[in-house]
Symmetry: C2
C-alpha cells in the first residue's frame, strides 16, 4: 500500500538536480503560489486538521501537544505569511563565500549550493510541514517529510496545497514528498537512505532523536531537545527574574525553548524563591525543588536526581540553589541539552563568565529563553534548532540548508 | 595495559574546557614551542620512524604507502614549518559571524568557538599527527589521535615532542592524546564516545571510512576517499590535457587528490587517447580502458564495471570515452566520490555546465586535481578533505574546526 521509501528517495534526488538549477526568482514564484494555495485550501486543511485533533483528544493527548497540533484560520494565515517571508529573504544559494587568487594564478571561489535532499522526521506539528518546504525549496533542496502519525491528515492536506503550487508553476512536485507510512519502520528506512538523503533532521522528543542518532547512516543534525536553564545571580533584579521566568516557563509549555530548570544563587534565594515560587504556583506550575528550595517554598515537592535532566514540556519546573557562579556553570553544563540558557544579573563580570563558559547554542543575559527561534532571530522561519556543534548550531534558517563547493579555474596549472 | 579510551575522552574534555579560555597569543606560544621541539626531537623521531618503515617494508607494504609513512630531516622540517604557519594564521575563534539588534532591543551575536574535543582516526601518515595537533590547538580544541598501527612508533615520538612543548608552556598535556591501542576495538570504542568527543574525523581508505560512518554515534566528517576524474572535452588543448593528466596521475599516487579515471569526448578520442596513453605508459601507468580506448590504445586492458568505481592509489588509471558532455557529467556524478573533478576545455559554455552540474567538493577547469589541499588553497595546513556536504566540504583548515554560539544580551525582554 505505501510507496517504497527508497523510491521516494530516488524521486527526490531527481527533483533536487532540477531544483539546483532554478534562479531565486523562479523559486520565489513557487513560494508565492504556495502561500496562495495554502489560503485557498484553508477549509480542506482545517477539516483534515479537525480529524487529527479529534483523534488526538480521543486518545488522551496532553493539552500542550494538542495545542501544537491544532490549526485555525489565523494559524494557517500565519503559516502562509511565513512562506511569503521566506520568499522575500535574500537567498544564500550562489553566494561567494571566499574568493582568492593563488600565487600560481589559480582562481579559487567557494560558493554556496543546495545540500540536495533533506529528510525531516518530526512530531505532530503541521506548521512544520509548510515551513520546512519553504526553507528547503528556497535553498534549492528537495525534501522528504515524515511527520507524526497524529498529524497525517493535516500534513496530506498541506502537501496537496504545495503540490498544486508546484504544478501550477511547472516545477517538479517531487520537490516535496510526504512519507505516509508513519510507522517506526518507515522512519528506520529513511535513516538508511545514505546517498539518496543528504541530511536527516529529526525534530521531536529525546527518544526520537536518540533513535535517529543511533541508527542513521545518513548525516544527522540533532535538534530540539531543550532542558533550558535560567540562573538567577546574586546581583539579579528580583522583579526582572520573576517576569522573565514567568514568560520562559508559562508563555508556551510544549516548546523546546521553554525554561525547565532554575538555578538560584544562595545569597538571593530567600528573597527570590518565595517571589518566583508564588508567581509560578499562581500560574499552575508544579515545582520540584532541592532541600533549600523546599524549605523556602513549602508547596514545592522534593526533586529527584532525574528532575535535573528532565524536559517537562509542561507546567512543571525544577529549582536548585547553588553557592556560587562556578557551581551554577558546572551544574548547567552537566544537565543541560546545550540548547538555551540565561543568566539574570546586574554584574557584568558574572554575565561575561556565563557567556564564556556555558557551552550551549544560545546564551542569554537578562532575557527569556523563549526567543530561541528562527523568526525571533530574524531568519524568516526555521527548520529546527540544532543542539549539536557540527554544521549549524541554534535556530536554523536558510544558511543551514546549504553547503559549499570550491570552483577552481586555471590555465593549465600543474602541481610542482 | 592500554589506557581505557573513555578515560582518554574524559581527560580530553577537561583539557578542552581549559583550552577554550586561552588567547590566540597563548596558543601561538605553544605552537612555536611545538615546532622547536619537533626539530629538537628530530633524531628520536627519525629513529622511531626508521623502525616503523623497516617493519612496513618487511611485511610488504606498497611503495606508495611506504612513501607516506617515511619521514626525513627535510620532511620533519616541513612539518615544523607547517606548525609555525598555523601559528601565524589569523584565528577564527572569537570571530563575530553575525551581529544584529532586533526591533525589541535584543542584541544577538553569533561568535565562533572551538568544537571541543576532536577525534581523529587515520592511517600510517605521521605528518598528519603534528598537522592535526596544530590545527586543533590553534582553534582551542583538544584532540584524540588514533593513527595507523604501522606509524605507532613515529606517532609516539612526535606526540612526545608536542607534550614537551605543552609542558614547557604550562598548558595541559592532555590537549593531545594518542590512542596506543591500534586495534579495531580501540577505534570502535572511540566511535561510541558520544558526549566526550564532539566530532570524529576518519582519514584513510574507503573501508575505514565506511566502518566509521556505519558505527559511530559521534558526529562524523567523512573525508578523503578520492575517485577523482578528469574530463577531456572535445575542445581541449591536447598538450594541456597530457600535461595535466600526467601531473594528476603520477606526481604522487598514494594520495586522495590523484586522478583515478579519465573521461574523453569521442570527437577528440583518436587524437587525445594515443598521446595521453603514450605519456602514461612511459611513466609506468597501467591503463584500464573501455572498448574504444582499447581500440585506440592496444596496450590498455579492458576495464571492468568495478574499475569505474576504483580508487587505485597507485600507477593505474581507467579511461572511458563518452558521446557528449551530458554523458560525461552523468558518468562522473554516478562514479565519483564527490572529491575533485576537472574539465580540460577551451569552451566557456562547457566549463560553465561542468561547474554547475558536477556535484563534487572541488570542481576544476584546466588545472590538476592535485591542488585539492589545505596548503595549496592557502589554509596553512589541513586536517582532511571532506567529501560530505555537512559542516565542511573540500580541504578543511581552521574554520572547519570551529562551531558557533549565539550570545543574546537583553535588559529584561520577554516574548509576547
Amino acid at each position: 500500500m505505501s510507496v517504497c521509501i527508497e523510491e521516494l528517495g530516488k524521486r527526490a534526488r531527481a527533483a533536487a538536480a532540477r531544483l539546483a538549477l532554478l534562479s531565486d526568482k523562479d523559486k520565489n514564484l513557487v513560494l508565492e503560489a504556495a502561500a496562495d494555495e495554502l489560503i485557498r485550501h484553508k477549509y480542506e486543511i482545517l477539516a483534515a486538521n479537525g480529524l487529527d485533533v479529534a483523534a488526538a483528544r480521543a486518545k488522551g493527548m496532553k493539552e500542550s501537544l494538542v495545542d501544537r497540533l491544532t490549526l485555525s484560520t489565523a494559524r494557517i494565515e500565519g503559516i502562509a505569511e511565513g512562506v511569503r517571508q521566506v520568499a522575500a529573504l535574500p537567498n544564500p544559494v550562489g553566494e561567494v563565500v571566499t574568493d582568492t587568487v593563488r600565487p600560481n594564478g589559480l582562481h579559487i571561489r567557494e560558493v554556496r549550493v543546495p545540500l540536495g535532499v533533506v529528510g525531516m522526521i518530526y512530531e505532530a506539528r503541521p506548521n512544520v510541514t509548510a515551513d520546512t518546504f519553504a526553507l528547503c525549496f528556497k535553498t534549492g533542496n528537495a525534501v522528504i517529510l515524515r511527520g507524526g502519525s497524529d498529524a497525517l491528515q493535516s500534513n496530506k492536506a498541506i502537501v496537496a496545497a504545495l503540490h498544486a503550487a508546484l504544478k501550477a508553476c511547472g516545477r517538479p512536485e517531487d520537490a516535496v514528498l510526504l512519507v505516509e507510512d508513519t510507522s517506526r519502520e518507515g522512519a528506520a528506512q529513511m535513516m538508511r537512505l545514505r546517498g539518496l538523503i543528504d541530511v536527516l533532521i529529526p525534530r521531536g522528543g529525546a527518544g526520537l532523536i536518540r533513535s535517529v542518532v543511533e541508527n542513521s547512516t545518513v548525516p544527522v543534525i540533532e535538534t530540539g531537545s531543550g532542558n533550558c536553564h535560567i540562573y538567577v545571580d546574586e546581583s539579579a533584579d528580583p522583579d526582572m527574574a520573576v517576569r522573565i521566568i514567568h514568560n520562559a516557563k508559562t508563555q508556551r509549555t510544549g516548546v523546546c525553548n521553554a525554561c525547565e530548570s532554575l538555578v538560584i544563587h544562595r545569597n538571593i534565594a530567600d528573597r527570590a524563591i518565595p517571589a518566583i515560587g508564588a508567581d509560578l504556583l499562581a500560574a499552575g506550575v508544579r515545582i520540584h525543588g532541592d532541600e533549600e528550595t523546599c524549605r523556602l517554598l513549602p508547596q514545592a515537592e522534593p526533586a529527584t536526581d532525574e528532575d535535573w535532566y528532565t524536559e517537562y514540556l509542561d507546567l512543571e519546573i525544577s529549582i536548585k540553589v547553588v553557592d556560587d557562579l562556578d557551581q551554577a556553570i558546572e551544574h548547567i553544563n552537566r544537565c543541560s541539552t546545550q540548547h538555551s540558557e540565561a543568566i539574570i544579573t546586574r554584574d557584568p563580570a558574572a554575565a561575561a563568565r556565563f557567556r564564556a563558559e556555558i557551552d550551549s547554542a544560545c546564551v542569554y543575559v537578562n532575557a527569556s529563553t523563549r526567543f530561541t527561534d528562527g523568526f525571533e532571530f530574524g531568519f524568516g522561519a526555521e527548520i529546527g534548532i540544532s543542539t549539536q556543534k557540527l554544521h549549524a548550531r541554534g535556530p536554523m534558517g536558510l544558511r543551514a540548508l546549504t553547503t559549499s563547493r570550491y570552483l577552481i579555474d586555471g590555465d593549465g596549472q600543474i602541481r610542482g
